[in-house]
Every structure is written in C-alpha cells, then in structure tokens.
C-alpha cells in the first residue's frame, strides 16, 4: 500500500501547486508508515521529476504517450486509476486545480473512493478515523470531513501547504505505460488557447497578488496595478464588477462567485470589501488594503492599511519595491 500523488507539469517543470501536493502526499505516507509514489501528467522533464525527491517522493511514474501532454479527462482518469492499481494505492492526492478536481471526481466513482476537495491541512488519523479539514462556504468557513471509504482521494487547495525542499534528494523515475487507446482520447480538446498573464504569473498559483476594484476608475489605470505586480513578481486580480464590465478578464475575478485564493500577500486597491469579495480572499496570509474611505469594510479584514488615493499611493509603493530590490 502506498500513497499516490498526481503531479501536474507544464513546459517541463512541475507546477508549484504540485510541489505542495507532493509534500502533502509524502507527509501522509510518513504518517501511515508507507512511501509516496508520484504519477506525472503534462509535459515533464526527467530532471524535474527526479527532483521530486526533495518533497519526499520515492518514485515517479511517467507515461511518455505524447497525447497526454494536454489535459484529457478520460485519459488522465484511466492513467491515474491504472497507476493506483499497480501501486495498490489506497490514498490519492491531487491539486485542487481544474485538472485535479475534475479527475478526482471521476476517479472517486471508478474507485469507489471517498473524496474531499479544497483540503487545507494534513489529515488527522487518530482514533481510527481519517479526517481532513476543507474550505467550505466559499472561504467563509472550514469543515472537518471524515473519509469513511477504504480508498480516499484528497484534492489539496493551492498555497495551503508549504512545499518542502530537501535539497539533493532524488526520486527514481520509472517508465510507465497505461496502454491508453484512441477511445480514451475521444474527449481531447480541439484547441488550447493560452492567455497572457501579467508578468507571466498565474493567479491561482501566485504567492503575491495585487488586486483592483472599482476605485481604479477604469481599465486605462490598470498599469498602476500591473507595475506594482511586476515589481513584486505578483499576479493580478480584480473584484466582480470590474470583470463584469470587462475592465479585466473573467479569470481574474476573485470572490464567492469567482475564484478563491490564499496567497501569502493580497493587496486590495480601491476595493470596498463586500462580503462576497472577502470570501474569496480572506484566507490570504497577509492582507493590505488601500482605500480613500477610512470606513471601507475591507479595513476590518486587513493586516495593514493605507487610507489614501490609489493614484497617489500605488506609484509610491512600486518605487519603494524597486528601491528594495
């Protein structure tokens, strides 16, 4: 019995969220006195897979089937189910990403497993129960969930576990062939269209985020947000009304009806702090609010605040970051 970890790769590198997942899986394995094996999906390089040893992974399985480079729901599901069978894995850990969560729900039916998505902590395994803590009510609460099935699947929320780096440790990379057939690729995408991200930082993966609301007045002022984001190597986000009127793309919309994020730092510029917005960001480790209204509700949820005009404050912050670097 081992723990199987699903590792997503892109352009040869293991995604940051998958380093967190690998760490999580290795720690669960240690709790249970077993080892963690990874199955890699996407475009991976041998060297980056071997480096998963740093997160505590013993062995990495990698199927070189070229059609597995892009996400295909059915094929990924079968690949992972086959790996789980070979490794006799009772626990599968994935990222709570659009790939991980989609595959996780399919696998849970195939393998008759208990599934928890949006998991934020290592499991508690005392007293014969297996309990995970997960985010619920769109960031407004947590729930402890008992996974009562013999098999368990856990999708770990991004940025909730710190990736471990045990420099120099390597994992064994083993060839693996799930013998996928053409039929498994029937739901392959016709086309994949990637969008350019500010400074190349993907919002769901970002450790630092600079976000703008209606107080930014219009899309022509977003360079102020982007300049600070670039200086910090941060991702950019926005409030719902901003994406509703197309000042910014929809994938930047955070909140109860957008995405929930938990970066180390969230800087809110000209955002009032409505309850639906806060839900999406209140698990950020540090929150900074810049708003000209001292009564803005966001200040109640903030660690640091500046009562002031964004058009005056943002350039000063960008200059201060550049001066530091």
């Amino acid at each position: 019995m081992s723990v199987l970890v699903v590792v997503e790769c892109d352009k040869g590198e293991v995604k940051k969220s998958s380093l967190e997942v690998a760490t999580y899986g290795a720690q669960v394995a240690a709790q249970l006195g077993t080892t963690a094996t990874a199955i890699a999906v996407g475009e991976a390089s041998e060297a980056s897979l071997a480096k998963l040893g740093e997160q505590g992974i013993a062995k990495v399985l990698y199927d070189r089937e070229p059609r597995l480079k892009d996400f295909v729901n059915n094929a990924y599901t079968k690949l992972i189910a086959t790996a789980a069978g070979q490794e006799q894995a009772k626990i599968i850990v994935l990222a709570n990403s659009n790939i991980g969560a989609a595959v996780g729900s399919r696998l849970s039916v195939r393998l008759r497993a208990s599934l928890a998505t949006n998991v934020v902590e290592l499991p508690k395994t005392d007293g014969g129960r297996f309990v995970v803590k997960r985010g619920a009510f769109s960031g407004k609460a947590f729930s402890d969930v008992v996974l009562s099935g013999e098999r368990k699947i856990i999708a770990v929320k991004k940025n909730s576990i710190e990736a471990q780096h045990d420099a120099g440790k390597t994992a064994e990379v083993a060839a693996f062939a799930a013998q996928l057939a053409d039929a498994d690729f029937a739901d392959a995408p016709q086309q994949v269209v990637m969008q350019e991200q500010t400074g190349g930082v993907l919002l769901p993966e970002a450790e630092l985020v600079v976000s703008g609301g209606r107080g930014m007045k219009g899309p022509e002022n977003w360079h102020l947000i982007e300049d600070l984001a670039k200086a910090l190597h941060a991702g950019t986000a926005c409030s719902k009304p901003v994406s509703d009127v197309d000042w910014r793309p929809h994938h930047e919309h955070v909140g109860q009806t957008g995405i929930t994020i938990s970066p180390n730092l969230y800087i809110a510029c000209g955002i009032s702090g409505a309850i639906q917005h806060l839900a999406g960001v209140n698990s950020s480790k540090v929150i900074v609010v810049i708003n000209k209204d001292p009564e803005a509700p966001f200040f109640k949820a903030a660690d640091y605040g500046i009562v002031g005009d964004v058009f005056d404050v943002l350039p000063k912050l960008t200059a201060a970051v550049k001066a530091l670097n």
């Binding site: 729900s105 947590f142 994949v192 109860q256 009806t257 309850i275 540090v286 640091y304 605040g305 002031g308």
Partner: protein, 246 residues
C-alpha cells in the same frame, strides 16, 4: 433536445455563516436561501438554447427536502418547463450525483447542465461523478456552450487559458461566467410557474462516503495597522521585515 438543469439550494451570498453550538451543523436560522449563483448560468443557457432551437424542454432538478421548493418555483418562473425534486437531504456529493444520474437515465436527457460548484460545500465534484455514472463526457468548468444539432462546442476554463472542446449529446457540462446573462423571473413567469408540474421522487442509491464531523470559522484578524499615505513606502519595509512576505 431535452435539457436537465441541476440546481442547488444555498445560503444567499451575503449570509454571515454560523453553526450550531456544537459546531456540527450549519445554522439556518434567519438565512435566506437562493439558487446557487453558478446554477443560474446553467438554467438561463438551457432556456436560451431551447428558445434558439424552437423546440425542446428544460427540466430543473433539485435533491433536497420540501424547503427547497420556493427556489424550484423560482427556476420555473425564470423559464424551465417542469421540475423534479428528489426528496432527501443531500448527504454528500456522491449521494447527490447518484440521484441526478438516476433521474437523467430515467428521463433520457440529452444535455445535463450544472453550476461550476455549490457555494456552500464548494465540492466541484457532482458533474464529474454524474458523467462517470452515466458513461458520458463531462466538461467542467464551461465558460461557453453552443449547440449545432447533436454536437456541442464548449470553452472549458483551464488555468491560464481555455480549451475548445467538442462533444456529442448526451453530455454533462458545468457552467460559469461569462456564459450568459442570468435571467430573473418576470411577472408572467411567476404566474405560470405556479401551475407548472413539480414531481417529487424518492431517493435511491448507496450511503454517503463522507461525513462532516465539525465546522469551524476562520481565525479573526488582529486588527489593521495603518500607515500614513504620505509615507506609503514604509508599508513595503513592514511587509519585508515584519510580515516577511516579500
């Protein structure tokens, strides 16, 4: 084309979440329930596609107890033709998926639409499970959905971009913005909704595989430290030296 739209009954987005004193249950007292905001995209898009085709039916489905009926009626008022309620407290995502799969099979629906995820349990699970249970494709989360004959073209959101996916009916898709502009009921809709059929059916399937042991609220913030706007650069120093996040 027969559309099945699955709607979840969730606390209004302005709800301050609280739990019973033992933290074992969500405190429903005084809470207003709404149709899950993402499910409104599924419902409106189904109605639009039916209207564009000039034929077809839109059935709404909820797994829930009788207290969800006001929101089922609301969905009928928005424009669904009929409704089914599986009479059971939804225990977990798998339980709900089993109910939906059973109804979908029985009614031979062509297009099964859901929201991206419920805003209460945030599972992002039910659509994938239903697809496997029925042996049909699931596209989740979809930002765009068009139909030409039996072939649907969808845009699926991926981190950093999108995929264009084509599938044939029957299929499952979970919907999110900017798929359409969710409709609100009008007076005529509200009047006709009262007489539209709402069928109540019993639950089927196996016991749930997960159980909530306890709920918790996030820790409270310590209070905000204010920095003078004149001296904004000071914030960056604090973020580096005190908060240690940059």
């Amino acid at each position: 084309m027969k559309f099945l739209v699955c709607i979840s009954n969730v606390p209004d987005t302005t709800t301050k979440i609280s739990f019973t004193p033992d933290n074992k249950e969500f405190n429903k007292a005084g809470v207003q329930f709404v149709i899950n905001p993402w499910d409104e995209y599924a419902l409106t898009r189904a109605i639009e596609l039916k209207e564009a085709a000039g034929s077809g039916t839109v059935t709404v489905l909820n797994v829930g107890e009788a207290d969800t009926e006001p929101n089922i009626r609301k969905a009928l008022a928005i424009g669904a033709d009929d409704a089914i309620r599986v009479n059971a407290a939804p225990q977990d995502a798998y339980f709900v998926a089993e109910q939906i799969a059973a109804v979908a099979k029985e009614g031979a629906y062509d297009v099964i639409l859901m929201g991206k995820e419920s805003i209460d349990y945030n599972g992002f699970q039910v659509h994938g499970m239903v697809g496997v249970l029925l042996g049909i494709p699931t596209v989740a989360p979809a930002m765009k959905l068009d139909l030409a004959g039996n072939t649907a073209t969808l845009e699926r959101e991926i981190e950093g971009g999108k995929e264009i996916v084509q599938v044939n009916t029957p299929f499952v898709a979970s919907c999110q913005q900017p798929m359409c502009e969710p409709r609100i009921p009008n007076m005529r809709g509200i009047m006709t909704a009262r007489t539209k059929p709402l069928k109540v059916v019993p639950a089927v399937g196996e016991p749930a595989r997960t159980q909530v042991a306890e709920f918790a609220l996030p820790p409270k913030k310590q209070g905000v430290k204010l920095i003078d706007a004149e001296n904004a650069g000071e914030l960056i120093k604090l973020l580096r030296n005190e908060a240690k996040v940059i």
